[in-house]
Amino acid sequence: MQRLQRHITGARLFWLFLFAATWALSQYSFQIYKALDARWIIRFPKKYQLSLDDVISGFLDWLVNIANFWLFTFRDLTRAIAWVIEIPYQFLRNLLIEGFQTGLGDAAVQIAPSLSWVAVIAIVISVGHTARDWGLAALVGACFLYLAVFGQWDSAMVTLASVLVAVPIAAVSGLLLGILAYRMLWVEKLLRPILDLMQTVPVFAYLVPVLILFGFGPVAALIATVIYAMPPMIRVTIVALKGVPGELLEAARMMGATPRQMTWKVLVPAATPMLMVGVNQVIMLTLNMVIIASMIGAGGLGFEVLASLRKLDIGGGIEAGLAIVLMAIALDRTSQAFSERRLWRQRTGNLMQRHPWSMIVILVILATFLMGLVIPAVQSYPDAWIISTGAFWSQAMEWINVTFFDTLEVIKTALLRGVLLPVKKFFVGIPWLWGILVTGLIAWQVAGWKLGVVAALMMGFIAASGLWDKAMVTLYLCGVSVFIALLIGTPLGIWAAQQPRAGRVILGLMDTLQTLPSFVYLIPVVMLFRVGDFSAMIAVVLYALAPAVRYAAHGIREVPLHLLEAGKMAGCRPLQLLWRVKLPLATPQLLLGLNQTIMLALSMLVITALVGTRDLGQEVYIALTKANAGQGIVAGLSVAFIAIIADRIVNALSDNQKRRLSL
């Protein structure tokens, strides 16, 4: 009896009561509504519904059609921005794909052809070698050779052109804004909430207004890409500049450096290694978004995947998907190598000795240009040499589907019946008023009354926007996916931490998984399981697995050595050491991993709208296809609110745990 009493604490009773009440209300909400004849219990009353979406759509209409800043209209402004981006983009397209021409239409005269595929490969090899060594040069060379051999060259160059335009714009503006925020406190205060929101608003949500302002096409896609890829650069810049040692700044001041010299001669160069990490992130996010933005006309590899998915052309989808994967790996490894490369000595000697690679590349470009005039195969990879694996992949998939159809179906049905549907019923059944209250109570219990109020208000916004049911579907899909990702990821992470050799393989795999654009995950899933909640869940689990594994491994590895020794000397067996020492001490890290998993799951969930979920992501996607900015933004904000609430609660849990362990 006493033992039982010891386990009953106030906090535990609170959670128990909360869960029981929620379950009961969810189970019987329909009966209650019937018994009381009060429909408002399960549906937010229509007449109180907010119409923020109409306001936003109206505002955008006004901006596009009427807004006038005395000297120029808003439309002029957007055209000017589009023009500025169009020029470098068109130049790169000419350089990589179309060649340079004068005149228009039939009168067009080719002045110079585009760079030959041989020259492009020579360039990437030289970049790879400059960044690290021959190994990297071989890797990126092979990746680009694949693009040529397997017939993905032109789409890949479109994607590459977009990346090459978006990355400098996003990186430089991110750097400038970061510097501004570092130098002026109010800029940072202004930027921080915007950055928080930008990080959680799903990407589709701002595709809509960009689409309306800039129209369908590559420029709109590029602008959306820059908006998407810039916030992390701002964050990294602020952190990097704050990390510059104070003594270095004092030294510069004592030398009489002006504020401008301080920024450009001291702060930025001293922070460069960290800033390069930010540039790497910008590159990967850019690639991710360029692929997604194929929906608003970016073209390139993303468009190939999208088209194949729509046609259910399995082979083509996998081919284009692989091309994206290889491109991601090449870009990631190269930019990472640049961020790790610190010091290099200036070479001396003649031009060839000082800049060997630049000279070789220029020679290759000239040589292939001249040879291309005679031998077309040098200029563009001949179609006859293209190896199509499409048929192979289609057959392989068919074979899998035929051979394992029953097995896959059994797994799918079992998970759907056993897990997905009951959880869905539970979440969807929760009456909105109680849902708001419960969210507030949970946030209050974990992180204090302030967060409680904010969380309740945010959930209230979702309900008042008429999106409650869809939000609950989002919560259920996210919840199940995160749960399964943790179920797989945490043991993998622990294993990786315990066995260094296995760890290297697992963590290497996770690194690669994390560099892949989210779009790619949809391909195998749709091939194997077709559309629906189950496919969505699998894709989300795959995408969100990496942080669960990484943080678990990190947490276990970071347990202080002296505590492990103390445990061993106390006579712990290996398993006891894991359960009694390592895991409890790793909980703050595990919780941070949970947080990241939730964030990635939410961002992927929106993309799975393409495979037919009925959640908030679908709402955003519908808004995109209808070009309804208001609807898209409101639904996007709802996803962001869910993300923010989850983030704050889990972070508070992690902080509480850290404090308890006095880490």
């Binding site: 004092e250 510069a252 004592m254 030398m255 009489g256 450096a257 001669k265 160069p269 010091l343 000595r345």
Partner: protein, 337 residues
């Protein structure tokens, strides 16, 4: 020592906290209790310091004593709350931003505890950096940098990056960098504290060698009392933001003004500090074994006196001003009186 004051700081205060200025309105001098009550931290309290041309002035204090804040106030890296600082005949606290930049470019140099070298620059670039800031062209600044690099004994390492150097070598680069503009006033903020004890000793010797060549006016910060008395012409001992005593090392040891100073001096080897002139007697003997300088330390002359059976003459400016006996030297060595 030339007796002209190069830096004169009077009634200098640096308080941290809300409403710090109000506490000092109209020349008030709040004590520690008053500051604590107002929830204000007194990093520097009513400091009065005169730095003379050509001297090594050491500010000694434990961590949190305010020595770093004081030196940062003297160079205006930190803005003092109240007080006056006169540098080279002008009011430093009223200097505009551009005047301040000019003063720092031409007249001040500073060496930092963690070296504060630019990680992305070679030794040569680091040392030439203050000149680059001033817009000196590449050839001229390389020539100047080369000269000081040789002076601090780093010839041959010009193209190294800081991460490729040992701590002692990095601080030599820091010293060279601060000297490249030929400053009138040289601040050294715990320059050797981050180094291993053996290297620290070596760097102190190097510092003494440099100062014998350069004859700079130096403000040197340290938490190490032995380092202070080894290097200093005068020492200021700080505690809780207040200067407890300013004196020569010998005076500190012989006449500590407060218990706090006495705690430090108690374990000092006195023979290293006490100079002949303070232990000499009036001339009584007529036979002498030799001559010693009036400002030599007892340690320096101990061997010579011990070997002699008669007193030694104490000389100042070529004149005999007294005699020192073996007895007096032994008294110091065994700690009597």
């Amino acid at each position: 020592m030339n007796e002209s004051v190069i830096l004169d700081c009077r009634h200098l205060w640096k308080l941290y906290g809300m409403g710090a200025e109000a506490l000092l309105d109209g020349g008030l001098t709040p004590n520690a209790a008053a500051l604590a009550k107002a929830n204000v931290i007194g990093a520097v309290r009513d400091a009065n310091v005169q730095i003379y041309q050509g001297e090594i002035f050491v500010i000694m204090g434990l961590s949190g004593s305010g020595k770093s804040t004081l030196v940062r106030c003297l160079s205006r890296l930190v803005e003092p709350t109240a007080g006056e600082i006169e540098f080279d005949g002008r009011d430093l606290l009223r200097a505009s931003d551009s005047e301040l930049i000019e003063i720092r470019r031409k007249k001040m140099g500073m060496v930092f505890q963690q070296f504060a070298l630019m990680p992305h620059m070679t030794v040569l670039e680091n040392v030439g950096f203050p000149l680059e800031i001033q817009g000196v062209d590449r050839l001229r600044r390389q020539a100047s940098a080369q000269k000081v690099i040789e002076l601090v004994g780093l010839k041959g390492r010009e193209s190294y990056y800081p991460s490729e150097l040992s701590g002692g070598q990095q601080q030599r680069v820091g010293i060279a960098r601060s000297l490249v503009v030929e400053p009138d006033l040289w601040f050294l903020d715990e320059p050797f504290s981050a180094l291993d004890p053996l290297i620290r000793r070596e760097m102190q010797d190097e510092f003494i060698r440099l100062q014998n060549i350069l004859k700079k006016t130096i403000v040197f910060i340290t938490h190490d009392f032995d380092e202070a008395i080894r290097l200093a012409d005068r020492v200021a001992v700080m505690k809780d933001g207040k200067i407890e005593q300013i004196a020569t090392p010998e005076e500190l040891v012989l006449n500590p003004k407060t218990d706090y100073v006495a705690d430090f001096t108690r374990h000092v080897v006195r023979a290293k500090v006490i100079r002949v002139q303070s232990r000499m007697d009036p001339v009584t003997s007529d036979r002498f074994a030799g001559e010693v300088a009036h400002d030599a330390t007892i340690e320096d002359i101990a061997d010579e006196v011990e070997r002699a059976d008669t007193p030694l003459k104490v000389m100042k400016d070529g004149k005999v001003i007294g005699q020192i006996t073996a007895r007096a030297v032994i008294d110091v060595l065994v700690g009597r009186g």
